[in-house]
């Protein structure tokens, strides 16, 4: 369903208001100290708003919006530092079921994901964390079970729909594993960014059911959407911590004047604005191209993949530096943004890999 620019602005405002109420800095700190690292009550409120069903067709209980709307929502989520499985469940799992699953799979799994009553995750990559086909370290045994270990599974502990990418005889397959299946254990990883929880999944001859016959291209399509959602989060987070920093430059007085009057800081702020605006353009462009002509979207996805991650990192790092001592404290929120920026820098592949993909898309 295509909605107008005006309607998209309304969607943004609605999600913004909800998060302003339910995801304050105090909420983020409360949730990041909790066992699950996730606020289920807020998740249900977001589901009522249509956030979890953004990409799901109305016939399966979703709202059926476009990738542009998904990116818009992601910006608000990133700005609020919402600790949630939005990307892993509402984008990655949902899309993979759509690209790899049969009609039956979709009818069975999508309604719960859209309603927010199920939480999905996709176990993709081994220890190296490349999120590429050759980085997959699970294989299907001759008896159809799965064996192997998957790292960096996003919000893996709370997932009840578990998809696993595994090597099969002729390539890659997408599998569904029951959370209680034999030989499956999941362990929460100790994470640097407490707002994005990760798990290690281990499979020892674990029974699994293959979704359709799809191979790596279906996984790549789902990962591409996840990267755009992540880029949206990064743009939202970068802009929020940038705004916080600019405000500080206006109110912090040293040497008898606002520190923003010093060119050393003013010029950093100007350069950061260019980075934040460029990242915004990259994320929104990728969302728009993949909606209109996915077959030509490779360059746009790759551009967003490294531009947004690095813009967020440099904005968050500069924010700490520009605040000075106050931002070296746990109490100040700047490090929460820096942590989120640093986790986004690695998820779904590193900037260098996206630069390489970008260059290939340019015929080089």
């Amino acid at each position: 369903m295509a909605i107008s620019t005006h309607e998209r602005a309304e969607l943004r405002a609605a999600v913004h208001d909800l998060l302003q109420d339910g995801c304050t800095e105090a909420d983020v700190r409360r949730v990041m100290d909790s066992d699950d690292g996730f606020d289920r009550a807020l998740w249900h409120r977001l589901a009522d708003q249509g956030v979890t069903g953004t990409l799901v067709d109305p016939e399966y209980g979703g709202v059926g919006l476009s990738t542009l709307d998904m990116e818009t929502i992601a910006e608000e989520i990133g700005a609020a530092l919402l600790p949630s499985p939005f990307i892993s469940s509402a984008v990655l799992t949902t899309t993979l079921i759509q690209t790899a699953g049969t009609a039956d799979d979709q009818a069975r799994l999508l309604p719960g994901l859209a309603a927010g009553s199920s939480i999905g995750t996709v176990a993709v990559t081994g220890k190296r964390g490349t999120w590429t086909a050759d980085g997959v370290e699970v294989h299907r045994n001759s008896d159809g079970t799965l064996t192997g270990t998957v790292h960096y599974v996003i919000f893996g502990q709370i997932a009840d729909i578990i998809l696993v990418i595994a090597h099969v005889d002729d390539g890659i397959g997408v599998f569904e594993v029951d959370p209680g299946a034999a030989g499956f254990t999941r362990t929460a990883a100790t994470v640097f960014d407490p707002t994005v929880r990760l798990s290690t999944f281990s499979f020892q001859h674990t029974p699994a059911r293959r979704l359709g016959t799809a191979g790596w291209p279906a996984v790549q399509s789902a990962l591409d959407l996840a990267v755009i959602a992540l880029a949206g989060e990064q743009v939202g987070g970068a802009r929020r911590i940038f705004d916080i920093t600019v405000e500080y430059l206006k109110t912090r007085i040293q040497f008898g004047r606002p520190i923003g009057s010093f060119q050393a800081l003013k010029h950093m702020a100007a350069d950061l604005l260019l980075e934040v605006e460029s990242a915004t353009s990259a994320a929104q462009h990728a969302a728009s191209v993949i909606a209109e002509s996915p077959e030509t979207a490779d360059g746009a996805i790759a551009l967003a993949g490294f531009t947004c991650a690095e813009a967020y990192l440099s904005t968050a790092m500069s924010a700490v530096q520009m605040h000075g001592g106050i931002a070296f404290t746990w109490e100040h929120p700047a490090h929460l943004y820096l942590r989120r920026a640093r986790s986004g820098l690695q998820l779904f592949g590193c900037p260098a890999a996206y630069r390489e993909r970008y260059l290939v898309s340019k015929g080089a």
Binding site: G260, K266, E277, E356, L359, K362
Partner: protein, 396 residues
């Protein structure tokens, strides 16, 4: 007011008109000299209302919003016809339209739009570069005219222009921003002497202009006495928005124009470090394009955008980074120059000419001040000469 056409109606109208009227133009040698054929073509475009569609109808426009003007520009650009969007690109026309009297508009606006008359810019002085409000060229009222004395620099087109936009001091006893006035001065008169200036590239696009008892009619005072700074800010904004739009390419049109082709030809495409750098630099240019497109879309939605003010800063980063990487790809060949080494010549030229964008029209450092203060609302840098009579201000 008449009803606005739809985008499709307008597109069809312009396409039809171009098909009937546009037959091409001979190549231009000096961008500051408009050939008779070019002037004749621009007259047709002005008469048709295509040159400055956002202007009001009594001043050769159609009272269109920017998005309709863009449609016209797209059709012109599709057949490579010049002359659309003069309402965006003509600095003298825009300045006169915004601040000039009706008498002045009647006298010069049509000539500026048709390029029958061109105007150069007499702003910078040897002692007033980044600190443009410190100009010392003086205008003294003498009956119905003003008498000008001083020295200007970095003036393109001074040898061929009929007019100049001039900023001069009309009052030395008020703070520096308040004693300035803006004039449209005729260039062809005995009191104005133009001397070409050779740039670091070896080219000569700029001049020094020495002004000795030159005169300008009082009717050509634009925006009122003492309001020169305000007029100048608007005129400079037009200039900056043009500089952010595109950068100049090389002069030999060698492979150095394309980073990827240059790297391929020099066997550097499989160098992992070069590949990473290449992606970063290519991305800068694409991101600038995306930013400009988003700014246009925002403007179309009626929301203002901070992106427009970032274009020039972005472009200087693009040009310096492209030139840096091209030099790295060339390696020792960059020691060479001249027509027998076209790639090295291009790359060396681009490396030096990048400073045209990072210094001209406000240095990158001044741009960052402007972005910080006007876009982000940060406090202004302390200026010790801001509130004292300019006569007492310290000078080098």
């Amino acid at each position: 007011m008449t009803e606005l056409p739809s985008t499709e109606q307008l597109r069809a109208e312009v396409r039809q008109w171009l098909a009937t009227h546009w037959t091409g133009l001979p190549k231009t040698v000096d961008p500051w000299v408009s050939s008779p054929e070019r002037v004749a073509w621009l007259e047709q475009a002005v008469d048709a209302g295509y040159a400055a569609p956002t202007y009001p109808p009594q001043w050769f426009g159609r009272g269109y919003p920017a998005e309709l003007a863009t449609v016209i520009a797209q059709e012109f650009s599709a057949v490579k016809a010049p002359g659309a969007r003069q309402d965006k690109y003509s600095i003298p026309a825009n300045t006169v339209l915004k601040f000039g009297s009706d008498e002045l508009k009647t006298a010069v606006l049509h000539d500026f739009l048709t390029e029958r008359a061109r105007a150069c810019l007499l702003y910078s002085e040897p002692g007033a570069g980044s600190d443009l409000a410190a100009v010392r060229t003086t205008a003294v009222r003498d009956g119905s005219q003003w008498v000008i004395n001083g020295q200007k620099v970095w003036t393109s087109g001074a040898q061929t222009s009929q007019y100049a936009l001039l900023i001069a001091r009309t009052d030395w006893d008020v703070p520096k921003h308040k004693g300035l006035s803006f004039f449209l001065i005729p260039m062809r008169q005995p009191g104005i002497e133009v001397r070409p200036l050779v740039q670091i590239t070896g080219e000569s696009h700029f001049n020094e202009v020495f002004i000795t008892d030159a005169v300008v009619p009082h009717a050509n005072l634009i925006g009122g006495e003492g309001n020169g700074w305000r007029v100048l800010q608007t005129a400079l904004a037009y200039e900056r928005s043009i500089m952010g739009d595109s950068g100049r390419s090389s002069r030999n049109k060698s492979k150095a124009d394309s980073l990827v082709e240059l790297a391929r030809e020099h066997g550097r495409l499989d160098d992992a470090a070069v590949r990473q750098d290449l992606a970063k630099v290519l991305a800068l240019r694409e991101l600038n394009k995306l930013n400009n497109a988003r700014a246009k879309a925002d403007a179309g939605q009626g929301t203002s955008s901070s992106i427009m003010s970032l274009g020039k800063l972005a472009m200087s980063g693009i040009l310096h980074n492209e030139a840096r990487l091209k030099t790295e790809i060339l390696g020792a060949e960059a020691l060479l120059a001249g027509a027998d080494n076209p790639e090295a010549d291009d790359v060396n030229f681009l490396s030096l000419n990048a400073f045209f964008t990072s210094i001209g029209g406000g240095t990158d450092q001044i741009q960052r001040n402007i972005i910080g203060e006007r876009v982000l609302g940060l406090a202004k840098e302390l200026e010790v000469d801001r509130d004292i009579p300019f006569r007492q201000a310290r000078r080098s």
